[in-house]
Every structure is written in C-alpha cells, then in structure tokens.
Symmetry: C2
Subunit: 468 residues, 2 copies
C-alpha cells in the first residue's frame, strides 16, 4: 500500500488539534509503540498521538483520511496477534488518556466506559457497586477494555459467562473518515437493522476506533471454590473436561495446563506449596461459583468424584483466598513464563470441546514430525487451547520456514475438527497468512468488502487480518 | 424496483431443478404465502417453491439473480413485522421441507438443524437428550427455528438465558447469487475475522438464505417455580421488575401484562381459576429455575417479599404442572387474543429495563393525545414492551394517518430513553419507515452498503428493513 509519509506540516496540524494530550515524535515514544506482547516483532510509527476527546480523534481521522496517512489505534499493548503494531508506520493513536468511567448505571446494570480503562480496574469499579463484569483475559491487570472489545477477548470465566461480545450492548466509534456514530442501542434485546455492534466487536481496530463502550453487567457472584487436579495423562485431563460438562455441570473456570506450563510458571513466579510429581502430565484448574455455599460444595464434590474416575494424583482444594490467588497467578503467568524461557510462537487454537483430546494428540504428533516442542494450556472448557511452540534448539531456518508448514497443518487439522484458528487472540498480523485455512475465497471477499465499505482508503490499522 | 415478472419459461426452469418438492402457482398456494401474523397485510407471490436441498436453493438463487427475479424466504409465517411477505411478488421460497435434525452432538452440547424445524420440536428433541435450547418466542409451537434466527427472536426466558443470537455458533447460507457458504465455525469462542454469523442473525432474510444452523445448547434445567403477582398500579409493576434485579435475582422469566392483556387472554382461552379484581391494573408473571429446589424456594420467597413492598393483591403460586401450563398459555396467547378482539398494530419497543415505568406512562399519555387505546405486555425483565394499539372505534382516517405521527413520537421517546424500535420482532415491512428514528443517515448508509455487498441486485427479500 502506498501511504503518505508524515511531514512537518502534518505534525503541525496534529499539534493544532484541540483535545490532544501529546504529539510525540521522539525516539522513546516511537519505540514504546513499536511492539506489543506478540513474539519479538518491531515496527516503528512516525508519530504517536494521545487524544483526549472524541472530537480530536474525529479531526485526526478526517485529516489522515484526506491525506492517506495510516492510523493504528493502540490500547495497552498486551495483544498477542500484533494487532496494535504500526506495520506501515504513520500515526499510532495511543488511547491511554481515554480511561474514564462515563456512567455506572446501577438501575439498568450497565456501564459506559472509555476504551483506555484497564479491565481489572473496570471489574473492581463495578464490583464495588455489587455488580460483575465477567470477561477476564489473563492480562486483565494491564490490558484495556477497548482492546478486549477490539479482539473479542475471552479468559477463564468465558466457559460459564461468555466472552466480551456477550457483554457489549453498544459502541461509539469514529469511522476512518472521522465521522462519529453509535452502533446500536443500550438494550438487552435488539432486532433493529443489522448488528453493527457485533461487527465492530472483534474487528481488531480495522473498521472504526472505539471511543465509548456500553457493557451489560450482572449481579455480583458471592462465592467460589477452586481445585487443582493433577492427571497422569494429559489426554485424560482433556477427556475429563468433557465428562464434567456432560454430567450437567458448568464450572466458572475449567483451565488446562500441561506439565511444562505449570512447571515454568512455578519457576517464573517462584511459587511454593505445590508438589509436581514426576508422573503428572497435566493439570485441570476447576472453579465453581455461585451464591449458595452448600450448592457449591455439592457441585465440587460431584466434580471431584468425576475426575477421580481418571488416573489422577491428589486433588488440591484451595482453602484460603491466598491459595486461590496463588493458583490463579500460576495460571495467568503461564504465557509470560513461557515467553521468558524461549523465543516462541503462540497459536490460539479452538475446537468443539470434545475434540480437545484429539487436538492435543495431533499437536504432539506434528511436533515430532516438524521437530518442535510445544507447551499447551488454556481454556479447556471452551475448547480453546493455546499452543506455545518454543524455539528451543530449533535452527533459525527451520523456525522461519519449516515451522510455517507445521502450523498450517495444525490449523488445517483444527478446521477439520470443526474449529478455527483464533479463539480469543485475534488474527492481527501474525495469523493473517493462515486465514485461507479458515475461510474460502468468497468468505474472505465478503470480509474484505466490509473493510472496504468502512475504510475505502484502507488507512485504519492496515496490514491486519487479511493476507497482503 | 424493477424486477422481472415470472414467465412460463421461468416456471419450467424451476420445475427442472433437482431437489424441489413443489413448484406451485395455484391460487391457494399463492394465497397461503401472501400473509403472516402481521396485522392484516396481503401480498401475493407469483410462484411458491418448496426446496428440499441446498443445491436446489443454490440453483434457484443463481437463476433469479441472473434474471432479476425477487425471492422471499418464508418460514412458518408467524412473523410480526411482515418479514416473509413477498411485497414485490416473485418467488416465495417456502422452507417447510427443510425440517430435519442434522446432528445432535451431545459430546459438544451442540445441535445442527435445518431452518424449517418448529422451535418447540427442536426444544423437545434436545430435552430428550438432557439438553436445553432456551429461546422460546410465544409462537414456539408453530414458528420455525430459521425464522427465529432471521429475526433474532427472544421470548420470556431471554431475561436469564439470552436471545437467539446468543446460541447461534455457525450458519450455512445461500448467497443471493447462489453460492453456498458457512459464516463461522462450530466453536464457543471465535476471534477469526469479522463476525459474519452475527451479521446474518437478525438480518431478516435480506442477506442470505439460512440452510443450516449450528446452535450451542446448555445442560437441561430440572426445576422451576412460577408465580403471578397482581399489582394495583401498572407503573408499580414496572418498578418492581427493576427492584428484583437490583436485589441480585435473575428470574428465568419476568413477564408484564396489563389488565386488558390478561383479561382478553382469559376470555380467548376460556381460562378459569384466576380472579381479576376490579382494582388490579397489571400482573407480573415471575419464574425462577434451577437444579436445587431449596435454593429456588428461597429465591421465590425473597422475590415475594420484594413485590409485597408494592401495592399488590394475593400472589398466585403455581403448584402443579397444569397450573403452570395454564399461566403460560395465558401469557403466550395474549397476542392472539388482542388480534381476535380488534384490528391492531403491535409495536415492539425496548428500553433499558429501569425506564419501563416511564415508557408505560408515555404510552398512555400519547394514547390520550392521539386518541388510541393500547394494551401493553411483554418481557419486562428485558425492558421489551409490546404495545398493542387497538383500532377500536378510531376512524380509518385517524388509524391510517394521525396514528403514524403518534407511533413516530412513541419511537422518538423510546430512543430518547436509550432504547430502540424493535426488541425481537424485527423491522421487516411495517417498521421500515421508522428506521430514521433509530439511526442517522450514516448508520443507515452503512447498513444499506452491507445489503448491497451481499445482494447487489437487491433480489433477496426486497422491500424490507430500509425505507423505499
């Protein structure tokens, strides 16, 4: 794509716009927006702009639209598919100043928030009012709610409560030409025209810049119980997942961790108090929540009885708040732990839940065939398995070329099982060349036409989702 | 729009297509597809085709696309916005032969079904396997699941379990030019490209013809309790709805019925056993469900205590299956009862739940101003109020002209309250001229562009959603 390079005149215009906190071109600011949490990628923008008002974003977009300047919106930079990377340079729109709670409507169990609020902060704010916003990506302590909406994030509790898309009622967006519009209405049911809200959720910042988010909330849930179950066979852990659901239980979390995932996270977090016998291949972290402790204990006992039909070691029941925190930290830090251990690529596979044991077997078989080691973990209750392929001793040549064939084959198997190539991380930059595995030409052509319709000049977050 | 009229040559082509059960041009067949449950509208198609295979639909669409012949897909004809009416004549694609269960996947809690299956039949089939498909429009005994998906239907249990869009995982559709494609994957989480599935749900048969539906299911719920609460003031009933939710309870149904709604339904169904004292203005029908009877009773007692803070008469607790059935029949038959009583127009207003009392007051005020009588009922837990405006003694002149202004004003108030003009019935034919109240020009232009993208010739279900 042929975009205009940014000149001093462009910078002068950006500086003249009202409602902008900073227009930065210094090396440090550009560097700070050149990467995210995806592998070791690096793309420098030409300018970083921190807008504070919708009108400012509108003015910037109208200008960039007119002058053919690429714009990449950026949240907290915690993305795992490179969605916030300015691969064509241009403007990074740093949304950190858009961090206000606009309205907490306790009468209607809704919250209106700006996209730059940290997800955990939002959860805490609504919790203080007796309410609950469930989606909780592993990075919830640092990621922004806007990025969560852009990527349709999930997290452990999606298995019971659904993903981000299930909570978004309405969005205010700035279109690529600068016009501002809402996508829907602040209602629980809506059969009025096409669902533009759900078209924007998960569109990875390629159709519009999210400036306000209206979320539905639910009443706070008062209690939860948590247990960690060690399995001697990883495939058996996957099988147990489905057995629990088929028995009629819907845990509020059902997380799978291969041995390496837990072990590396234990080392990374310097956790103590968990034994990891040599014969354990995988763990399930199972949480049940609700408002009645008797019911919860009964459910937990029933689930314990189910997993005991498999070849397991002693179940660890988390008795205290601290113990629960420790187990959740171990789970949440797996990604960072793997990253700190080796160069890696993370694939965000998702299949119908019952196909998990087969998926895991396929991954290991492909690893043997293509010579890669994998560490698998994720939201087993949703069939969403993160496959961390670690470089280890693999040659650069194999890592950059041969491995691509292995990943293509993995994704082909995922699609054959009824699944798809991203469950919650999005396509962004790093998976876009695999989109032809998930979709045929017509499907892709429809998606590209939608992009064209919203963004005829292709200036908004270019280089994402679609193969070049 | 200038469409081609159907000729003998076209009919001969349709008859030559494999996989078609019937090509009908007799007066009775055309008449049967000329109306639905929307008011007293009447539009004759030129031919009714009953396809039995996806390939047959593909061949018909390719032909109609080439020859510029309008095609209107039709389910059970229970729609309340005229979505299935062939307003430009042409082909009605009668989907009744598409009524098979393709796969009930109990391992993954999913079902794949054809669009022509009756919703109740689908619910019964999955229930026999210990599973639950919650969305239950009032017409569930006769409507088709395909129509439910096309309209994004709701129903009483949406308040706890969500609407149709919350259960659709993947759709097979035939595009207006005859190409067949899937919209997504059979997974619970999906962050792979734009959400085409949610674009098709609720698109009212204007973007593609749904031929297969993959729905997620949940484990069957074992128990429910039901109570009918008579309120002396209708506005107080609306207020009680919100009080219950704010206390942290999420009933599985929370239905509002104005006095007339219940009275007319009692007459229509010849119900006995319910007293309706003169001073009662409205009722709430409240259901709580779950797997633990102790918890249910406790919740029911707490809810009873909440409603007793309002000015109510004696609560009726439904003790037996028969009593529950009777109360639900009364609720489900309100629409038919009103229809049998007078010519009417039904508006499907939806607002944030807490705004219901104000909405009800506004409706009555507008009724006084414009001289109409209204019977209101609906899914109060979702803020979704059906406003049946009955013609009664209103002159034809007022009914056809003055009333339109009243409805415009009602919808303007609904939008002012944060709501929109259809919660679950869709826009179809009868609400399309009000779309400018819910959306501005840019929003409408984006929706029209999406229509254009899927259906450049505008042959699929023309005359719907968008004003002429």
């Amino acid at each position: 794509m042929a975009f205009k390079k940014i000149t001093a005149a462009d910078i002068a215009f950006f500086q003249s716009v009202q409602g902008i906190k900073a227009v930065q071109t210094d090396a440090e600011a550009l560097e700070n927006c050149s990467s995210d949490e995806t592998e070791d990628l690096h793309y420098l923008p030409e300018v970083v702009i921190q807008p504070q008002t919708v009108a400012a974003i509108s003015a910037i977009m109208a200008y960039c639209h007119e002058h053919n300047i690429p714009v990449t919106p950026r949240g907290a930079g915690t993305g795992l598919s490179g969605g916030a990377l300015p691969v064509y340079g241009g403007v990074v729109l740093d949304m950190r100043a858009f961090n206000k709670l606009i309205a907490l409507d306790t009468r209607n169990l809704q919250v209106t928030v700006e996209p730059g609020m940290i997800t955990q902060e939002l959860q805490d704010l609504v919790k203080a009012a007796g309410l609950f916003y469930p989606p909780d990506p592993a990075s919830k302590g640092s990621c922004f709610i806007g990025g969560n909406v852009a990527e349709n994030s999930g997290g452990p509790r999606a298995v019971k409560y659904g993903v981000v898309k299930d909570y978004v009622l309405n969005l205010e967006i700035v279109l690529p030409d600068g016009e501002v519009m809402w996508t829907g209405a602040n209602v629980l049911k809506n059969a009025t025209g096409y669902n533009l809200t759900q078209l924007i959720v998960g569109s990875e910042g390629t159709l519009g810049i999210i400036t306000k988010i209206v979320l539905r909330l639910i009443p706070a849930v008062q209690h939860d119980v948590l247990m960690l179950v060690p399995f001697r066979k990883a495939v058996a852990a996957c099988e147990a997942v489905n057995t629990i659901f088929m028995a009629g239980y819907t845990p509020s979390a059902m997380e799978f961790m291969e041995r390496d995932a837990l072990e590396w996270s234990m080392q990374y977090t310097q956790a103590t108090g968990i034994s990891l016998p040599d014969d354990i291949e995988a763990h399930l972290l199972i949480e049940v929540d609700g408002n009645n402790m008797d019911v919860l204990y009964k459910d937990m006992e029933a689930i314990a009885a189910i997993v005991q039909r498999f070849d397991i070691d002693d179940i660890l029941f988390a008795d205290t708040h601290e113990q629960k925190q420790m187990l959740w930290t171990l789970r949440r830090k797996v990604g960072e732990a793997v990253k700190s251990n080796s160069i890696y690529k993370e694939e965000d596979t998702v299949v119908p839940r019952a196909e998990l044991p087969e998926l895991l077997s396929i991954i290991k078989e492909l690893g043997r065939e293509y010579g890669f080691q994998s560490v698998c973990y994720g939201h087993a209750g949703d069939g969403n398995l993160h496959v961390n392929i670690v470089k280890g001793s693999m040659s650069d040549e194999d890592w950059n070329n041969k491995l691509t064939d292995g990943i293509r084959q993995l994704f082909a198997e995922v699609v054959r099982l009824g699944g798809t190539i991203s469950g919650e991380h999005g396509i962004g930059l790093v998976q876009k060349n695999y989109m032809d595995i998930a979709f045929n030409n017509r499907q892709l052509q429809i998606m590209r036409s939608i992009k064209q319709l919203f963004d005829p000049k292709g200036i908004l977050n270019p280089g994402k989702i679609f193969a070049d």
